[in-house]
């Protein structure tokens, strides 16, 4: 099964996982990495690499979801990009995370990442437009 790591500024990552688990119950192979104001880059990179090893143990690949393109969480994740092994989708939102968890058993890593990029965008709505 594809492993998932959420990497964000501050505690968003852990709280995204808390929110997702509140909705769908406990999920496996799902870890959070937080980058705080005082985090040393090397320490954060090490924690991320270690997390990739843990959730990627079975060789099915690892999907990293980050909060913002251009931010440090994305920049440190990019160093781990590897075709078929590690993919990144930026701009994580809750619908995207839920879709990643439910979709990861039925598709390969590249297809999952490509689908999530479109899905995450389509999950941003403006209810006023629907009236």
């Amino acid at each position: 099964m594809i492993g998932i790591i959420v990497v964000t500024h501050a505690q968003l990552a852990g709280e995204f996982i808390n929110a997702a688990e509140l909705i769908i119950g406990p999920a496996e192979k799902l870890l959070a990495v937080s980058i705080d104001r005082s985090s040393a880059l090397e320490a954060a990179q090490e924690q991320l690499s270690h997390s990739v090893q843990i959730v990627g143990e079975d060789g099915d690949g690892v999907l990293i979801l980050t909060d913002m393109f251009g931010g440090t969480p994305t920049n440190i994740s990019a160093e781990l990009l590897s075709p078929g092994k590690v993919e990144i989708v930026t701009g994580v939102n809750l619908p995207l995370l839920l879709k990643a968890i439910s979709g990861r058993r039925s598709q390969a890593l590249e297809a999952l990442a490509a689908m999530l990029k479109d899905y995450g965008r389509s999950a941003v709505m403006r209810p006023m437009e629907m009236l």
Binding site: S38, S39, A40, L41, M68, F69, G70, T72, A78
Partner: protein
């Protein structure tokens, strides 16, 4: 050319720089002087892609950027200049890339580094480099994001660590 911010930030272009400093100093050009990023196509591409398209971005080695400043091609720009560490900032200055003020943003922990603030960790070598810039007349201050108060770097460093 106006140099609206010269900053040492080991994260180089990242959220704090793009979301707070760029609008605060009204920069229209970001320049990164860093040998490692300059030689990594992926990191370079990611950093370039993260900058709004209305801005100019120049990424190069410390020597390339020093030469770029000397070439006059940045004449009309309002530049936000980023270095990754104190050694690069000093090397550029010694080679003629002159700046009047230097902002210390993120200089994070590493072996042998002492914590001076939540985002600034320096070792003896860093302090020596900054002191050389200070003596040359550069006003060095610590301020991670515009919302932080600005403090002279010397107020952060214990007096016994400064060479008299």
């Amino acid at each position: 050319m106006s140099l609206v911010l010269t900053r040492i930030d080991n994260r180089l272009i990242h959220g704090q720089v793009l979301e707070t400093w760029v609008p605060y100093v009204h920069a229209d050009c970001i320049v990164v002087a860093n040998d490692e990023i300059a030689s990594s196509p992926l990191k370079r591409m990611m950093m370039e892609a993260s900058v709004p398209s209305r801005m100019r971005v120049e990424i190069g080695t410390v020597d390339e950027i020093t030469a770029l400043f000397g070439s006059g091609s940045l004449e009309k720009c309002k530049i936000l200049l980023l270095f990754g560490n104190t050694a690069d900032a000093l090397r550029a200055y010694r080679n003629g890339l002159i700046y009047q003020r230097l902002n210390l943003g993120n200089l994070h922990a590493g072996a042998g580094k002492t914590r001076l603030s939540c985002t600034i960790f320096l070792d003896k070598e860093d302090i020596g480099f900054l002191q050389e810039l200070d003596v040359a007349g550069v006003a060095i201050t610590a301020r991670c994001i515009p919302a932080d108060s600005e403090r002279s770097w010397k107020k952060l460093v214990p007096r016994r660590k400064l060479k008299q």
